[in-house]
């Protein structure tokens, strides 16, 4: 297991180096950050001076090696022009909002797709199953942006039962400003509902269908037939024998999809003015904050590698054969 983790860490570093290099090479295409720091009247000479002060005029490799050096020696990923704070601080400030959004969405997905998927597999011909299947087709084909606007229109404007934007009342979780959570106040939870629901419409149908088909497949296998033949109770056959094996591929997909979901929060966060990382990223693109963009790419890359590693390890616990090959 140890060797496996070490290998993963080395992979992660390589991935991040490549990503930061890509980020650096496209940064001049995004725009001139100095333009956003000054009013439109400021003369080109003044602008050039500011660019010089910020080190933007240095040759490509001077800038890149400075970035890599600071990243490795000081853990410093540079400073955001837009927020005027160290990039890491900006990213960590915005991370809780996105993590809570994804967490809430994951909860919705798990608690709806698991029972519904299993039910659809066991009773494929029932009305509820058919309804769930057709509804999920609708969910897949509706863009998140549209779903979000529709939800806002219905719940925030028409019925006025849920708030339309922002995070609401927050509580400082550790008392040091690291994590402001909206999950512990009624107002904060209310604010979470619409964004989470609209984000979940993207993945929920996929998981209902995935669990359903996996479960159906497992139910057809020899050992389930054998279990039936042994005269085991339906509950035991379904839950212990069939369901547990259904979960394996579902967890793999879940891990990958959670990562993708972090990327998909972009639109949801924009529509709901959700101050998370996706929103921050869009702002950075709009305002040509290249420093923050590169730092964000690196952080996201490391996050992806981390999540995948965790999934691989989890996988090992559920399926011992993976662990054996993993430690060869």
């Amino acid at each position: 297991m140890f060797a496996f983790i070490v290998r993963r860490v080395i992979q992660a570093i390589l991935v991040m180096l490549v990503i930061s290099l890509v980020g650096f090479s496209i940064k001049d295409q995004i725009g001139d950050p100095v333009r956003d720091l000054v009013g439109e009247r400021v003369s080109p000479a003044e602008r050039a001076e500011i660019a010089e002060q910020l080190g933007l005029n240095d040759p490509f490799f001077t800038q890149y090696s400075r970035f890599v050096k600071n990243a490795f020696t000081k853990g410093d990923l540079g400073r955001s022009f837009l927020y005027n704070k160290p990039n890491l601080e900006v990213i960590f400030e915005h991370a809780p909002a996105t993590i809570e959004l994804v967490f809430g969405t994951a909860l919705i997905i798990i608690f709806i797709s698991l029972p519904l998927g299993v039910y659809c597999a066991l009773r494929p011909k029932s009305i509820l199953s058919r309804f769930a299947m057709s509804f999920s087709t609708l969910g897949v084909s509706m863009p998140v942006y549209l779903t979000a606007i529709l939800l806002i229109f219905l719940f925030a404007i028409h019925w006025q039962v849920l708030p339309s934007y922002g995070r609401g009342d927050l509580i400082d979780l550790f008392g040091n400003g690291w994590w402001h959570t909206g999950m512990l106040t009624i107002d904060g939870l209310k604010h979470l509902i619409l964004p989470c629901v609209s984000l979940s419409t993207l993945m929920l149908p996929l998981f209902i269908r995935l669990i359903r088909s996996e479960m159906m497949e497992v139910l057809e296998t020899e050992y389930i037939k054998y279990a039936w033949a042994k005269g085991l109770s339906p509950a035991r056959v379904w839950m212990v024998h069939a369901f547990k094996n259904t979960l394996l591929p579902v967890i793999t997909v879940f891990g990958v999809q959670i990562g993708i979901m972090f990327a998909f929060t972009l639109l949801t966060e924009l529509v709901f003015q959700w101050p998370g990382m996706g929103f921050m990223f869009l702002e950075a693109v709009h305002r040509a904050d290249i420093s923050l963009l590169i730092a964000y790419l690196v952080v996201v890359a490391s996050l992806f590698v981390f999540v995948n590693t965790v999934v691989d390890i989890l996988y090992g616990f559920i399926n011992p054969t993976v662990r054996i090959t993993g430690t060869k």
Partner: protein, 516 residues
């Protein structure tokens, strides 16, 4: 245990009710929040709005483009070069320090060092303290716009900003990127004290209890500003009751606001003109005044205002809007397709020609749509347009390089005077003097000469005549394609008395806002 919880909860509830009696909270949703708390770091609309809430200028513009005393109670001309301002007594800063002439001088001297304000303050020679409540502003040459500029003289609390911060740097350091005390702390004389700020998330302010302007009808006690970038979300926030006041309102949502009985739409004519410039150096066809006239005649700018801007803009045929000294009533919009075709024929371009066009897509209201419509309209007189639109972050770089034959530019003069339009958009592009910084194509030495003469002409009637003559020359020369002056738009709940606090500059004076 449960009982105690209930008891405390109901107690808290009761308490919060007593506290909120008389308290008026205003929740505002704008498309962006101020980038910093330092009023002198960046010259932008958002920063000016903040300056009017947290600080006070010597004088400010009223709705009908007059000057209103703020920190200066009256002013007089001492001689050709000197204007004397008499300052208000008994004004307190948020920190508790008393306001006096030295704060005015200190703020002025600091502003001169700011990259953003430097050029604007160039006509000034300096600020001199006469006594504790009197200051003189001297200019290098006779300067007709001293009062216009005095609307930028916000007083910062000199005592508060003096000294060094925890990093050992001077508190008043002017910094774009980095740590500076002034970037994150503010003490002004304005109606609101900043209590909490998380950039791009929220800015909270409370009414200053020692605010000098006790005659102000404003009754907002707490002011919470949330940036809501997405147009649809901002409108939804107002319609759902999440915020009380939004700006800007996208034109496509005007009908929705009108239809809702709980909210009201307020608009006011602005002075930002939207134009296309025609680059004569890049495209030889544009050297011919007949071709330029044909282009101006082919563009149905009234139609664009009606269809694309949904009526929330004023059709333009010159640089400065009505109310400006330069405004000439006889200059009318020129849309006339037949004449345009005739002019093209006369110029020998009967079969048309090709040109490139560029416009931003997130800088001005409906900028990309306006460009697309223009490209189509030019198609009708045989001009084939290759249009490219892009976000402003990339657009300005392209504009600097003047890479297209026709480029869109919108301009709002900081001085609220049309001389500023000419200096930036029309005068020959000159990197040494900085004139014509946003001019991509027209150059007329005669106009340059006149624009420079206007700068030091203090006779109002003469000056106005000169400015009008410039407008006439530009009109006859078809120096640019005029579109419209953008309106400012605000959406608010019915109980907000918005109309008295809005103005041409788009600085809603929230300090004077009344919530019924």
């Amino acid at each position: 245990m449960k009982k105690i919880t209930y008891l405390t909860l109901s107690l808290l509830l009761a308490l919060s009710f007593t506290v909120s009696a008389g308290a008026k909270t205003l929740k505002v949703g704008l498309d962006a929040d101020p980038v910093t708390l330092d009023p002198q770091v960046q010259l932008s609309g958002g920063m000016m709005q903040l300056s009017h809430w947290v600080f006070d200028p010597l004088v400010r513009w009223t709705q009908d483009m007059d000057f209103e005393p703020r920190l200066a109670t009256k002013w007089e001309k001492v001689d050709d070069l000197t204007t004397r301002f008499f300052l208000r007594k008994g004004v307190k800063f948020h920190s508790g320090n008393m306001f006096s002439a030295k704060d005015v001088k200190w703020s002025f001297d600091r502003m001169r060092k700011s990259a953003d304000f430097k050029a604007l303050l160039d006509p000034f020679e300096g600020c001199y303290i006469v006594d504790d409540y009197t200051v003189d502003f001297k200019t290098k040459k006779p300067y007709p716009l001293v009062l216009n500029m005095a609307t930028y003289f916000f007083a910062m609390d000199s005592k508060f900003y003096t000294g060094t911060d925890k990093n050992g740097q001077p508190k008043d350091m002017l910094l774009k990127v980095g740590e500076s005390f002034a970037l994150n702390n503010a003490s002004g004389t304005g109606a609101f004290v900043v209590t909490k700020r998380q950039h791009n998330v929220v800015l909270e302010m409370e009414r200053f209890k020692d605010y000098w302007d006790t005659k102000s009808p404003g009754n907002v006690t707490k002011f919470i500003l949330t940036p809501i970038k997405e147009n649809a979300t901002r409108v939804a926030a107002l319609l759902s009751g999440g915020v009380d006041f939004i700006s800007p309102v996208p034109p496509q949502d005007f009908k929705r606001l009108d239809a809702d009985s709980k909210v009201k739409l307020h608009t006011i004519a602005g002075s930002r003109i939207i134009t296309f410039q025609m680059n004569q150096n890049r495209n030889p066809a544009l050297k011919d005044v007949r071709v330029r006239q044909a282009i101006v005649h082919a563009v149905n700018n009234a139609g664009i205002v009606k269809k694309i801007m949904k009526g929330t803009a004023t059709v333009a045929a010159q640089q400065g809007p009505k109310g400006y000294a330069s405004y000439k009533d006889s200059l009318k919009p020129r849309y006339d397709l037949d004449k345009a075709k005739a002019l093209m024929k006369e110029a020998g371009y009967e079969n048309g020609f090709e040109l490139t066009m560029m416009a931003p897509n997130n800088r001005y209201v409906n900028d990309a749509k306006i460009a697309e419509a223009t490209a189509q309209m030019l198609g009708k007189i045989g001009i084939k347009v290759n249009l490219k639109t892009m976000p402003k972050a990339q657009y300005w770089g392209e504009f600097d390089k003047r890479v297209a034959d026709m480029m869109m530019i919108g301009w709002h003069p900081d001085t609220e005077d049309s001389g500023n339009f000419t200096e930036f958009l029309i005068m020959c592009y000159n990197t040494d003097t900085g004139y014509g910084q946003y001019n991509s194509g027209y150059c007329n030495p005669k106009v340059d000469e006149m624009a420079l003469a206007v700068q030091s002409e203090t006779d109002i009637a003469k000056r106005s005549a000169m400015l009008q003559e410039i407008e006439q020359i530009l009109y006859d020369d078809a120096a640019f394609v005029p579109f419209h002056w953008q309106n400012h738009s605000y959406g608010a709940k019915n109980n907000l008395r918005v109309q008295p606090i809005i103005n041409v500059m788009n600085f809603p004076y929230i300090g004077d806002l009344v919530i019924e």
